[in-house]
């Protein structure tokens, strides 16, 4: 039942500016060497963390477009009338958002890691950490988008809500980027899973509560 909804969300995201968060991600990654200087050893040490900060800020960009346009246009009401629960709509949105956000981000992480002077080993562990963390990031973005939909200055509010909630993901993600062999990747996966499991319920409740 949610197949056509996912297909629609993916089509709309790709028709919009799916490249924008990725360009932003690369831009932030580019800024780091300018900010801390071209010391290769220092860059390699902080590179994993810098990639994560770039990923987090890039994840913030599309939040305003994730739920609000469909709420304002009555799309969410019609989906409910067509028998989809708000939670199912949120799951579809999370899957579609991940599909249009994560693969591009992983691709961009390759030039990003070069900019930060990460070696092949660093690139591999960073890619693994980003691949494991992005589903949780997508789920969090959709939940925050649903919570802030329809509010004035939703974009700024979304940042204030999303970034603190993403801290556990950031801690374990950055640690896993630095050392792929540690247990950080497993802990990151656990956080990511917990976010994926909880976000549809938070988003669904927020959509229902936001109806007028």
């Amino acid at each position: 039942m949610i197949g056509p909804v996912i297909a629609r969300d993916v089509r709309r995201a790709l028709g919009g500016a799916a490249w924008l968060p990725v360009a932003f991600f690369l831009l932030v990654a580019t800024l780091v060497p300018f900010a801390v200087g071209p010391d290769a050893r220092l860059l390699e040490r902080i590179g994993g963390g810098a990639l994560w900060i770039a990923a987090l800020t890039a994840a913030l960009l599309p939040v305003e477009r994730l739920v609000e346009p469909d709420r304002a246009d009555g799309m969410l009401d019609q989906l409910a009338l067509h028998g989809l629960t708000e939670e199912a709509v949120a799951v579809a949105r999370i899957i579609a958002h991940w599909l249009t956000f994560a693969p591009l981000l992983l691709l961009a992480a390759v030039p990003g890691s070069v900019l930060l002077g990460l070696g092949a080993e660093g690139l591999r562990s960073s890619l693994a950490a980003l691949a494991v963390g992005t589903p949780g990031l997508a789920a969090l973005a959709v939940a925050v988008a649903a919570l802030t939909a329809g509010l004035p200055r939703a974009g700024a509010l979304a940042g204030i809500l999303l970034l603190p909630l993403a801290v556990p993901l950031l801690i374990f993600g950055a640690a896993a980027s630095g050392d792929g062999g540690s247990g950080a990747l497993l802990l990151e996966a656990a956080v990511s899973l917990a976010l994926c499991a909880g976000a549809p319920f938070a988003a669904g409740a927020a959509i229902r509560a936001g109806r007028t």
Binding site: P4, G15, D73, A80, L81
Partner: protein, 193 residues
């Protein structure tokens, strides 16, 4: 006979204001209800309550799965009209009814026109065509006459007539007069139907 829509002692408060209290109503197959009342008397809220999009403060609302046409377009602006409507028809599993519904609302020649180029009257016809294609027994129409020309109003009346003849029920909230035989419910004066 099981009613398609039933309100039992429904009370609704919006923004601290009591819109109606202890409202009872029952709508069976073939019946139609015209909800009238001044601006802000709760016509749209009653429709959204019947659609299950709002929850009553007190009382019970029972209904079969409805179809809703309201001020919100809920169609993807960049798609051609037929494709945008087909998304909903597929979701409801009634894609076969879409062409007939579009023809009934006089939209067949607009099938390839992007939704963003439609006039407000054409957009209203599109939301009514979505209702007609839904196969739902219960139609909820919020201000269905808004933006419609005489031809559109005639087509809507014919659609409603056919829907009632086939055992469907309709609730319409509208200021304007609706052609045909409607029960009336006037809100905004301590209403009990």
């Amino acid at each position: 006979m099981k009613p398609l829509l039933r309100f039992e002692a429904v009370t609704l408060r919006r923004g601290g204001r009591l819109l109606f209290e202890g409202l009872d109503l029952k709508l069976g197959p073939g019946e139609a209800l015209h909800v009238t009342g001044p601006n802000g008397s709760g016509k749209t809220s009653l429709i959204r309550l019947a659609a299950g999009l709002l929850r009553a403060e007190a009382g019970r609302v029972e209904r079969t799965a409805p179809a809703l046409s309201d001020e919100a377009l809920a169609l993807d602006r960049e798609l051609p009209l037929a494709k945008a409507l087909r998304f909903w028809a597929r979701l409801g599993g009634t894609a076969g009814k879409l062409d007939a519904a579009m023809a009934a609302m006089g939209l067949a020649h607009l099938a390839d026109v992007p939704v963003r180029l439609l006039s407000s009257g054409q957009a209203k016809r599109a939301t009514l065509a979505r209702v007609a294609a839904s196969g739902a027994k219960l139609w909820l129409l919020d201000e269905p006459l808004n933006g419609l020309d005489a031809d559109g109003i005639g087509r809507l009346e014919a659609l409603v007539e056919r829907h009632r003849a086939s055992g469907g029920a309709v609730v319409a909230a509208s200021h304007g007069p609706l052609g045909g035989d409607w029960e009336r419910l006037e809100l905004g004066q301590g209403a009990t139907a």
